[in-house]
Subunit: 333 residues, 4 copies
């Protein structure tokens, strides 16, 4: 971190600031020029309050040089993280199709979908049991019952499963779930993240609707700081002024995240667009730009889905898409 | 809700759709014109999936007529809600100054600030004990210790207190807290909202950084649907592309919310701007446009605050601001 | 368009409104129900002021059913528009690579780049002569001299050329330019659009940084309303809160625009990302999601480019990218 | 500007970069530390391409210390600019009410409105003659005829007039117009700005819908760089994800701009909100936060206005508002 002082700053004031900075546990590298006086801060600057420094009368500017995230920073861990779950690898060149219904609705539904996506090449089954809904009057998921049906589908197919957690107290219910998903609205539910830092299970962390990539990485850092290094990042669209699509899928997040971090990055085009018609093209785009995986909603009867039917592919549509995704990946291999 | 069918739709398809809609528990009012066929949905349409309807081949457009929120909707409850806590009224013409430090740091600090803001006319004391921080390496608050110090300040001054909850399991710790605050990042932590719907205590609900007013009202609805009707809404800045200010304070939210709902609306200019220099002008603007209250960060020594010092006013600055806020309100009375 | 009246509206008021609507040149279809009274507006509703209608006391809601754009609407012209320029086709399945430097700097530079991109398979040469720069102190382009150099490169290679116009008075200077580009900042420079509606030459219209797809289509409509139907739409990134990338490339705009309009849609990943490292992955993504063409900045010496060097590929990088783009397209054919 | 090099950078590479930077006309201040090597750039850095520097392999970070705008920078011109037009002063403590119809429609209309707003205390008359409309099918203004009617109203009342220019070629038509307005959509029409830099008349420059304050100041700089120092800045709402209001009025722009620049700042709450009901509260807020003036739409018959009737106040509503604005300003004097 670099602190630039205003030209008129007295030596006394400057030394007072330096003493205070040292008391915060950082080393100081002073550079006095004719125009600028620059204080370089070395060491662990993560605890330094940038905005406070900026508000001081003598300070002209404060600029971070390094990134505030450490454990997920590729600079310190150049090799890709590979997540392994139930024999399936994700990251480090291992591409992975995650598919399944928005919410688990019945035994027949989840089994039928699980078998269909498996036949089409998906290797992880998704299914919502606890559903975050904007309206308190909307269907909230089958809850624990949904998790049990998901487990049945896992046993029947051998597919590892991923499902969203909304409440730190539900963690014991997720014992059989292979990857725990943190939804966009909980990306900065720091208490939940800290709790997930204590478990030994991969976490799929979705980017919040208005969160920067830096914040996404800081949230991954929360989990990793607790000791759990198995974090999968997920781009699922951000909120912009555009209204023709539900959200704006930010695909440049994929190569940018892969530059910044060693964690795998998957893309969810279903929630991003909110419209089944747009899912295939966005899934192909995600594969082409190097995503480590896709997460796609598939429903055996979208028109009667209890939730997000509008964005679900039929098994047949998914099969066609999976084939085309493979073709794109082979073309770029 | 209105569903407009495409011109070519057959009667059979139309009747099939109508039957399905009826099975969802709504009444139907059909209007067949030369150009449009319009299906009007009457009754509780909150459970109808608009996006699913839109995705049907025969449907041209779906438009909501009414708002999806009920209990907080002013149309059904024209009179302002007045929140009363510790002898202090908020809403329905009762203006209220909430002030205090970003985080409680010590007994001396909170007592000194509490007495200062009380002397300046504030009637509710704020203070953070559990702090949501973007970085896991930043100060996270004194936690329960902070709540105890806040309680001491309450006893010493008689001021009711407000503090932020981050975890549904902490609720028992908040017994002495008069108003429970839900922070911007938890505005759509639906499990937390549902839990707060079961208590008998006012909740101060902050608008999320990228949440629409409609979503804010739907989150209030989550609390009210559980039986707790004491919700205070708080505008605290939204995220935009502008970088000179931390967030963009959306003051038009104040009159717009007051038109849509009977709940009181307060404004937090401290978090919105992130800069003490901008707080007074935004606080005055909020008072001028009719906010029911203000929530201002005050610290006895901002330069050494453990959190958000850059946006904190000194007691003297707050005193001056409080005087000017009163002057504006009197001028508009 | 549909106007929904409030339940209590008197017949007299209603009839007064209907008379006024008819005087605006639209036909009326009235539907009186027990709960809603709905006025359907039929005919040319483009001149109706939706916001004014909404502001009337008796009006509950106004909803557009159709789109306000006509000539570019695919509903009325299902077949793809194919633009042909100098033997090169764009749209309707004809994919096109447009490449060249951000700004024309010298004869050597533009000739070298033109030959290189042609060898790599690009079929249209881009080059800026008039440069819109945020700062008045930055390089503003070679202006007319730049256009002349671009023409020389066209003669030397046979490649048709595209260049940006910034001022309606410069139109005579663009006689030899095959496709006239309207930059993002001029997307709603309506006087310029109207003027371009009177010429017989393709226009490449870039989406503004904060413009919706609907507004982009309305701007295309301005050109088409004047008689010029050769419009190419270009997605080049929108402005969001994210700061790691210069803009956020909105690739879902590609399939959505192709659904809404018959005009070709190209993607400019260079301006969107602002960073050469991100350009290939975003170009591949654009090709995979079905864009009709790409517009890529290529410079023979990016480190010494007078403008936007950071986002320019070298000819070798472009050659590699072009090869991979072809592979993706073949895989999806 | 500060350039931070990566730790491993060789001296040779560093010196090569320094030589190149010097060739760009800036002075260099080198600071070699154990951890960082920092190159300070002194002098006119406005022409340095930050993104290009950042893209160099050896560069870790580039940070601007000063602002890229010079002439409008308060640091170099601490005293407020005061604009004087037809005996009316704006800026430097001189508050000013600008009012009038969105578009000039007839002699009767403009005269009636002009007399009404004058009676209520407005000192400048606004009226649109050339109207930028999203749709080519909407009313585009009376054009030169509108300017003539505006001139008549000026002669009849003595009020100076302000009207929007959309085309650089229309400048001769604006001879009698006292303040030339540049609309939000033309804020970065750099050719127009440059032309306005050559005239001797105040320019009212509106912030673009997605433009940062820095870009607004850079556009003011375009005008000032040409020699015209009479620029009035106008905040009129920015585009966000919120849909209940047309735009989001960014009132923190007022104190922030006043800190950054010596130019006067006025606020247009009519276009920002798009709704007459919200205009008074936002106007009062703007006055309370220290705006140098207001720009309000007033129409004698809003329900029949040809443009933006929904956001226009009646003369009676404006009279009431003007009285309240004065009360707020007196309370804060």
């Amino acid at each position: 971190m670099i602190v630039v002082l205003k030209p008129q700053t007295t030596e006394e004031k400057r030394d007072h600031l330096i003493a205070w900075l040292k008391s915060q546990g950082v080393d100081i590298h002073l550079s006095v020029g004719t125009d600028y006086t620059i204080i370089g801060l070395v060491g662990n600057t993560a605890g330094i309050d940038v905005e406070l420094l900026e508000s001081l009368e003598m300070v002209m500017a404060v600029r971070r040089v390094g990134e505030p995230f450490k454990q997920c920073n590729r600079m310190f861990h150049p090799a890709d993280t590979v997540i392994e779950v139930g024999g399936v690898k994700l990251g480090g060149g291992n591409f992975c199709m995650i598919a399944g219904p928005c919410s688990v609705e019945s035994e027949d539904q989840i089994l039928e979908v699980a078998r269909a996506i498996q036949a089409s090449g998906a290797t992880i089954l998704r299914g919502g049991a606890f559903k975050p809904r904007t309206s308190p009057y909307a269907f909230q998921g089958l809850r624990f019952e949904g998790l049990k049906l998901l487990s049945e589908a896992k046993r029947a197919t051998g597919l590892p499963i991923v499902s969203e957690i909304m409440n730190v107290n539900h963690l014991p219910l997720f014992e059989d779930v292979d990857i725990i998903q943190v939804g966009a609205r909980n990306m900065q539910n720091f208490d939940l993240l800290q709790e997930l830092g204590r478990i030994h299970k991969p976490v799929l962390l979705k980017r919040g609707l208005a969160n920067t990539l830096k914040e996404l990485l800081m949230s991954a850092e929360y989990i990793m700081a607790g000791g759990n290094e198995q974090v999968i990042l997920c781009e699922r669209g951000i909120r912009t002024f555009e209204t023709y699509t539900r959200n704006t899928l930010d695909l440049s997040a994929v190569p940018k995240l892969q530059e910044l971090t060693h964690l795998p990055v998957v893309v969810d085009p279903s929630h991003a667009t909110g419209e089944a018609k747009l899912v295939p093209s966005m899934a192909l785009a995600a594969a082409a730009c190097g995503a480590d995986g896709l997460m796609i909603e598939v429903h055996n009867d979208p028109a009667h889905a209890k939730c997000d039917g509008a964005q679900s592919l039929t098994p047949a549509q998914f099969d066609d898409l999976a084939r085309r995704v493979r073709a794109v990946r082979e073309a770029l291999a």
